[in-house]
């Protein structure tokens, strides 16, 4: 049940327990209990809206930042990655294979505020060797959702 339940919630986190129960062929209480368990165990970490920032009147800037760091003798990248992650400007942080170590998604009100975060907060952390900042120009797809307004699905209304 867990996989199907998570699939439903990934598509629509606001789906009602009653509907999910019908879809899964179980009782609504069983759905609620399962969700509670997943939250308790930290599998479900939160509930968020998928927002297309491009449509907001107030400007919002997103950057991805590639960061090279010096791993430490104890704990490798963890300490520095966690330190970086704590900044509220950082929306997502991943340890990567390849040409750099950390990949950050950073949000801010303007280019300037993001630039300031990089130069004043990020680059100055002990152990950060270099940063490369790329600004997002436009969002086409986010969290699995296409940002273009869906048109008519193109099917005839009645077919054999």
């Amino acid at each position: 049940m867990v996989e199907s339940l998570l699939e439903i919630l990934r598509n629509n986190a606001k789906e009602s327990p009653e509907t999910m129960a019908k879809m899964l062929g179980v009782a609504p209480e069983a759905v609620s209990a399962e969700i509670a368990r997943l939250e308790r165990e930290g599998v479900i970490r939160g509930w968020q809206a998928i927002v297309n920032d491009d449509l907001l009147p107030k400007g919002h800037v997103t950057a991805v930042i590639e960061v090279r760091v010096t791993p430490e003798r104890e704990g490798g990248f963890d300490r520095i990655a966690e330190q970086v992650s704590r900044f509220e400007e950082v929306d997502a942080a991943y340890l990567m294979s390849g040409g750099y170590d950390l990949l950050l998604f950073v949000g801010g009100e303007s280019l300037l505020s993001v630039a300031r975060f990089v130069s004043e907060k990020l680059a100055t952390i002990h152990g950060v060797l270099s940063t490369a900042t790329h600004f997002k120009l436009k969002t086409y797809k986010q969290s699995g959702v296409l940002m273009a307004k869906p048109g008519d699905d193109g099917r005839l209304a009645v077919t054999p």
Partner: protein, 389 residues
């Protein structure tokens, strides 16, 4: 002779108008309809498949292929049929790529029938079966399937309709419109019936991948000794969500295939080349492509079954395809009136069961090839509607 219907082919003019067509004309006059009347997937074709079609055009693959279809595609089809359903076909001589299973059915009937030959087929069924048989100069002989049998085809019903003129039996499981499937014992019994009466069996298995509740499709292709009298139809429309590509296949023994291919070759030349490249790509990872769609269909089927039960609408549990076939007779309306009044009152379209044969009367077909949000809304409106009856 004046110019008018009498100048047209009698066996075509005499065909009944499609009940689906009539209902389409009614529905299309309205706006904002939630349609559960659509017999094709709501999913778009997986992107890598569409991309392969685009790439084929970029590479200038805009020419005819061999009549039977790309050899590598026929090989992939033979492999898929063997691995998935247990049929053993030689890709060089026993597999043909067609323009939809619709073409495959037409080819098979025209290759097999002489004027006046009778063909058994079960109703409720896909709307083209009767007309297709008639267009091939055969005589369509419908056999009823009943809700009491979960719409499985009974041997007793077949025995009652078979005559010395019967040449073929056309079956479709998982079934459109009932959602019925056959178990292995049903398949064996029907195959025995075909052998006993020396019939050719045409099996339309276009919904073979769409079975629910942990049940697996049993293909006639897996029945030992049946191959020499079996025409197996399947295709990409449903399981891969590729209706518009018009891609399907026929598997048949070599003695039949020569003649089937002759018709295809004179009439069609070959299936569209970009679609064939798309189909080839579709054969790379069928299970992965289908999994998310199949999971969604099954959850919607569960939802609809529960919602109709809650609304007091009786229904046999559909075990395959993406159709629910609830019984609405108890509300005192014909299935056509039920559908028209539901549309009027709640702007929800379902197809009257009578469109799929006389014995579909008393039922309506609800397709769950529709997003869950629409399905929820439609189910709520149907529940509200039946309270007013």
């Amino acid at each position: 002779m004046s110019l008018g219907p009498e100048r047209l082919a009698r066996h075509i003019v005499g065909l009944p108008k499609s009940g689906i067509r009539e209902f389409f004309d009614i529905v299309s006059t309205r706006r904002g309809v939630i349609s559960l009347a659509i017999g094709e997937p709501d999913f778009d074709t997986p992107w890598h498949i569409r991309e392969a079609a685009i790439a084929s055009l970029e590479q200038g693959k805009s020419h005819y292929t061999g009549n039977a279809g790309l050899p590598e595609l026929r090989r992939a089809i033979a492999d898929y049929v063997r691995d998935r359903f247990g049929g053993d076909y030689d890709p060089a001589h026993e597999v043909l790529v067609t323009v939809g299973a619709s073409e495959g059915l037409d080819l098979a009937l025209r290759a097999l029938l002489n004027p006046g030959d009778e063909v058994l087929f079960h109703e409720p069924c896909f709307v083209s079966y009767g007309p297709e048989i008639a267009m091939a100069h055969g005589v369509p002989v419908p056999v009823e399937t009943r809700v009491e049998d979960n719409f499985r085809l009974s041997i007793a019903a077949l025995e009652a309709k078979v005559t010395p003129r019967t040449r073929a039996l056309l079956v479709n499981f998982p079934n459109n419109p009932t959602g019925a499937i056959l178990g292995p014992e049903d398949v064996r019994a029907i195959a025995d019936f075909a052998v006993r009466h020396d019939l050719i069996l045409i099996s339309d298995e276009i919904y073979a991948e769409l079975t629910w509740g942990g049940k697996r499709h049993t293909s006639f292709a897996a029945v030992p000794g049946l191959k020499e009298r079996l025409v197996l139809l399947n295709g990409y429309s449903k399981a891969w969500a590729m209706t518009g590509f018009r891609m399907a296949w026929v598997c048949a023994p070599a003695w039949m295939m020569d003649t089937i291919l002759k018709i295809h070759q004179y009439q069609i030349m070959c299936a569209p080349t970009p679609s064939q490249y798309a189909a080839l790509e579709a054969m790379r990872q069928p299970a992965e492509d289908m999994a998310p769609m199949l999971r969604a269909y099954e959850m919607r089927r569960n939802y609809l079954s529960a919602a109709f039960a809650e609304a007091g609408i009786p229904m046999h549990t559909p075990a395959g395809a993406f159709y629910a076939f609830p019984q609405v007779a108890k509300f005192g309306l014909s299935s056509r009136d039920f559908a028209v009044r539901l549309l009027d009152a709640e702007n929800v379209a379902v197809v009257p069961g009578s469109a799929f044969g006389a014995c579909g009367e008393g039922f309506v077909r609800c397709s769950y090839a529709t997003g869950i949000d629409q399905l929820k809304e439609a189910a709520a409106r149907i529940a509200r509607f039946v309270k007013t009856l």
